[in-house]
């Protein structure tokens, strides 16, 4: 029987290899979807209320836990406190930028290609609920931005 802390570390390590189904460069841990690991359960929270990836995320976590020998561990979903982009790890933000998605910073979005802050919003709603669509006014490339939420 693993001690509580080392069990938690072990499970978090496993889940840090479970990619988000829509944005596979970041894991469910990077995004702050995994809120807690207790003795018998992993606690997760949805990002957006209507995000269709929520079901896939739970299934992927289930598969990863089962494969690693944690079939007895339950998955609990909590809504409160509500998820916020402040929970995305610094490492997660860096991975987003490298992937071509501007991370959710409060300042003007930076073009993930040329680094310019000279950008404009094209649409507040993008290809997934968590992203908006922008255009760089210097290199002229369009890009996605993870919305501050």
């Amino acid at each position: 029987m693993l001690a509580e802390q080392s069990l938690k570390d072990r499970v978090l390590e496993i889940l840090s290899h479970v990619p988000d189904p829509e944005i596979p460069c970041v894991s469910v841990v990077d995004l702050g979807i995994v809120r807690d690991v207790r003795g018998d359960a992993v606690v997760i929270t949805p990002t957006y209320t209507g995000c269709p990836a929520t079901v896939a995320i739970e299934a992927d976590i289930r598969t990863a836990l089962d494969r690693a020998g944690f079939a007895a561990m339950k998955i609990e979903t909590t809504l409160s406190p509500p998820w916020t982009t402040d929970w995305i790890s610094a490492e997660g933000c860096e991975k987003l930028r490298a992937y071509g998605i501007a991370p959710p910073v409060k300042t003007a979005p930076e073009c993930p290609r040329c680094g310019s802050t000279h950008t404009e919003e094209i649409s507040r709603f993008g290809s997934t609920p968590c992203k908006s669509l922008h255009r760089c006014l210097d290199c002229r490339e369009p890009f996605d931005r993870f919305k501050c939420h």
Binding site: Y48, G50, P52, L79, S80, R124, P129
Partner: protein
């Protein structure tokens, strides 16, 4: 869990409003005037269906008869739906859809702010999560009301006609019986501010239509349900 009919009714009203408007917006998917609008309406619809999932799950738990979200969404008939009449109104043209969203989202944002301080913790959890998303919906609708109202002669005429169609369903939102009379003042002020910016007049008061909260719906809801519920009616318990 002890049966709480008031909470059950409350959760059903909230869930049905979101579900029916989410379904209405999904009708635009692939048909919107431009790609960004298509994305936006589909995203707003998804948020609403997400809210409905949480509210109807709560309703099923409170009812205690083993009905889950799907059973409540797909196995109830029109008289059992508790949504307001506004959300079931047809999309019409884009301006009519925006008019409905404008009136509804501004109300829902105020409503969810109020729910964040409700005594029932499960309602609070849903409202706290959803209120951030609804703020986007209201802002989106407000911006389009201004763009269309203060746009071309054609867009202005259509915006006026859209508001005119939807306006008779406003009073139901604030009805003393099942509505939120305390939010009327703040809602009126928000609506007037955006209409002012759009150089539009507030539509004249007229006798409001109500009945949705009691299950008395317009003919439009039945048609919507036939499409939304078709699969579960034809193939009960079908799963992906």
């Amino acid at each position: 869990m002890a049966h709480d009919p008031k909470l059950l009714d409350h959760a059903l009203r909230l869930g049905d409003d979101s579900l029916i408007l989410g379904q209405r917006l999904s009708e635009w998917c692939g048909h919107a005037p431009m790609l960004e609008v298509d994305l936006a309406l589909a995203n707003i619809g998804l948020d609403l269906i997400g809210q409905a999932t949480h509210f109807l799950k709560l309703a099923g738990e409170v009812e205690g008869k083993g009905r889950d979200t799907d059973a409540l969404a797909f196995r109830r008939d029109v008289l059992d739906f508790k949504n307001c009449l506004l959300v079931e109104q047809p999309n019409g043209d884009f301006a009519q859809t925006i008019a409905r969203q404008f009136l509804f989202s501004n109300w829902q944002e105020l409503l969810f702010h109020e729910l964040c301080a409700a005594p029932e913790p499960r309602l609070v959890a849903i409202a706290q999560k959803a209120v951030k998303e609804v703020a986007y919906h209201a802002r989106y609708a407000n911006e389009w009301v201004v763009r269309l109202g203060d746009g071309t002669e054609e867009s202005r005429a259509r915006m006026i006609a859209g508001l005119d169609w939807m306006w008779r369903f406003v009073d139901e939102l604030f009805d003393a019986d099942g509505g939120t009379p305390s939010l009327r003042g703040e809602w009126d002020a928000r609506i007037a501010a955006t209409l002012g910016e759009a150089k539009l007049e507030t539509p004249k008061a007229r006798r409001g239509v109500k009945g949705g909260r009691a299950g008395h719906h317009s003919e439009h809801l039945g048609h919507l349900l036939t499409e939304m519920q078709f699969l579960q009616r034809a193939y009960p318990d079908a799963v992906w």
